[in-house]
């Protein structure tokens, strides 16, 4: 057993190194002043990449702000929409549940490229294309399935005994919901909101299609930098883009108990 554990630890070190590998050039380049081929490390360091991020009028702060606003609005709306759905799916038994769950899951399983191109014409007609509210609306498509599912899991674990007790003691259904149910599901709501924020923050193609280049978010800047030829700026932007994901991960791991629902984030939806 001891030998197996040691081998397991060795494998863990290798896996951790492979996971960290893409971040090595990102961090080195972000602070590089000069790094010519074939030097293994930069020969000079600089804060050019970092100062580009905070340059007033450089566009990065504005793009980060857009990403933040859209992400926060998407998270709030997705939770508001996903909470009642999660309650219905997780808390009650009813007919055709499988069909409805399949329907809500669809945007996770089928890439939303086709549907977004489909709604584009209507968005143009309604004046939503090329606007922040329009981008916010399409970001609901990949996020609502996740908040609904996460919250369905949360409600499925509740027995309803506490609510029953509250009702027996004279609480109205609304009071029981506000005073008992809501506080009980609050950690789940926080996790769902964080995941929704993260998914919205990571969106590129939906923003590109509906925002039409007028709504500039962080991934837009990262993409054009990555298509260009300045690895310092590209890496600085990539780190800035990855930062909330890392912070959110740390937070989510603190809220979630170990081993609980760790596989809820599908493949690369974020």
């Amino acid at each position: 057993m001891g030998k197996g554990a040691r081998r397991s630890d060795a494998v863990l070190v290798v896996v951790a190194a492979l996971v960290a590998l893409p971040f090595v050039p990102l961090v080195l380049w972000a602070f590089a002043g000069e790094w010519r081929f074939p030097d293994l490390l930069p020969t000079a360091w600089s804060l050019r990449g970092m100062s580009h991020l905070f340059e007033p009028g450089g566009g990065v702060l504005g793009a980060a702000f857009n990403s933040l606003v859209i992400g926060a609005a998407t998270a709030a709306a997705s939770v508001a929409v996903g909470l009642p759905a999660g309650m219905a799916i997780g808390g009650y038994e009813w007919r055709f549940k499988g069909v409805v769950v399949f329907f809500i899951l669809l945007p996770i399983l089928v890439p939303p490229l086709a549907s977004t191109m489909g709604v584009h014409v209507t968005f143009i007609r309604l004046g939503l294309a090329d606007t922040l509210p329009g981008v916010f609306l399409v970001h609901l498509v990949p996020t609502v399935p996740y908040t609904a599912l996460i919250l369905a899991g949360v409600f499925a674990e509740r027995t309803g005994e506490l609510e029953e007790a509250a009702r027996t003691l004279g609480a109205s259904p609304w009071q029981a919901f506000m005073r008992v149910t809501l506080p009980g599901v609050l950690p789940g709501v926080a996790v769902a909101g964080l995941f929704a924020f993260l998914i919205s923050w990571g969106q590129y193609v939906l923003t590109l299609l509906i925002g039409g280049g007028n709504v500039v978010t962080l991934p837009m800047l990262l993409f054009s930098a990555a298509s260009g030829n300045d690895p310092v700026i590209t890496s600085a932007l990539a780190l800035a883009f990855a930062l909330p994901a890392i912070l959110t991960l740390v937070l989510a791991l603190r809220v979630l108990k170990p081993g609980q629902r760790t596989n809820l984030i599908g493949p690369g939806k974020v």
Partner: protein, 284 residues
């Protein structure tokens, strides 16, 4: 009766959002793929766009490339994930959870940029090779970006998806597998026998389910091939996007036909996944 109304009201917002923005959009895309767009004078629905797309060599090249990239990415990710999960199941849950969660949480674009800076001809790998005296010039290093074999795209997907599948495998290994394995060991089964007759049957349904999900995702994803793919042939989602961006609106039905075909293929894979997941849920 009141109960049913309550359920309907609870579901209405989510079903409404997905119904309008997703199903509605998909419906419009389908109608446009049939060549029905009154706004530009197309009022005779038909299957012309599909005929045109399916006979188009560019489309077939894209389809094969897409099948190749998502097939290889899924296959590699699955094998590596099972191996990693089997090797890691006895180590501390907390550490491996963090190590595995990181790539899942990091956006694809960041992963693609990082991988590109590792495998480019002036990247970390090439510098190491030069340091070891294996190559002299950057161009001596094999081209792994914008290349024929889509190595950069596949590596990015493998980096992103191995942890996802591995977490699924770890979760299913935590169940009955270890107890059954101990029984098999007591009965004198070797390591390979224990894997093949005990562990594999236990984990294979969830492994297949997770792989289907990865296949559907990599088949329909846009960012990574748009950034790291070569200009011809492109993967299907990139091709659909390029056609959509055509200024000539007459190209629109073809763009939508490609999209509908992508949705159909990923939808079929997704239906298989859901069937498996449901059976798993029933069993477990």
């Amino acid at each position: 009766m009141g109960g049913r109304l309550k359920i309907a009201l609870l579901l209405a917002p989510a079903v409404g959002v997905i119904g309008v923005l997703f199903a509605g959009g998909l419906g419009v895309a389908f109608v446009q793929s049939l060549g029905y767009m009154p706004a530009i004078g197309l009022t005779e629905p038909g299957l012309d766009a599909y005929r045109q797309v399916l006979a188009d060599e560019d489309f077939l090249d894209s389809l094969f490339l897409t099948l190749y990239v998502s097939g290889v990415s899924t296959g590699l990710s699955t094998v590596l994930a099972v191996l990693a999960a089997l090797a890691l199941r006895r180590s501390g849950g907390r550490v491996s959870a963090v190590v595995f969660q990181l790539p899942i949480t990091i956006p694809h674009l960041v992963a693609a940029v990082g991988i590109a800076l590792v495998v480019a001809q002036t990247g970390l790998g090439a510098r190491l090779a030069a340091g070891l005296g294996l190559i002299g010039e950057p161009r001596d290093f094999p081209a792994l970006l914008y290349d024929k074999y889509s190595v950069g795209i596949i590596l990015t997907y493998v980096w992103k998806e191995v942890p996802f599948i591995a977490l699924v495998v770890l979760a299913s290994l935590r169940g009955v597998a270890s107890e059954l394995e101990d029984v098999a060991r007591t009965l004198g089964a070797g390591a390979w026998q224990r894997f093949w007759y005990v562990v594999f049957p236990v984990i294979s349904p969830s492994v297949v389910a997770a792989s289907l999900l990865v296949f559907a995702f990599t088949f329909g994803a846009f960012e990574v091939p748009y950034l790291l793919g070569k200009s011809y042939p492109t993967m299907l989602p990139v091709m659909a996007y390029d056609e959509y961006r055509e200024i000539d609106l007459a190209a629109r039905p073809a763009a939508m036909a490609i999209n509908v075909l992508i949705a159909f293929i990923t939808g079929t894979v997704a239906a298989l996944y859901l069937r498996l997941a449901r059976d798993l849920g029933r069993r477990g």
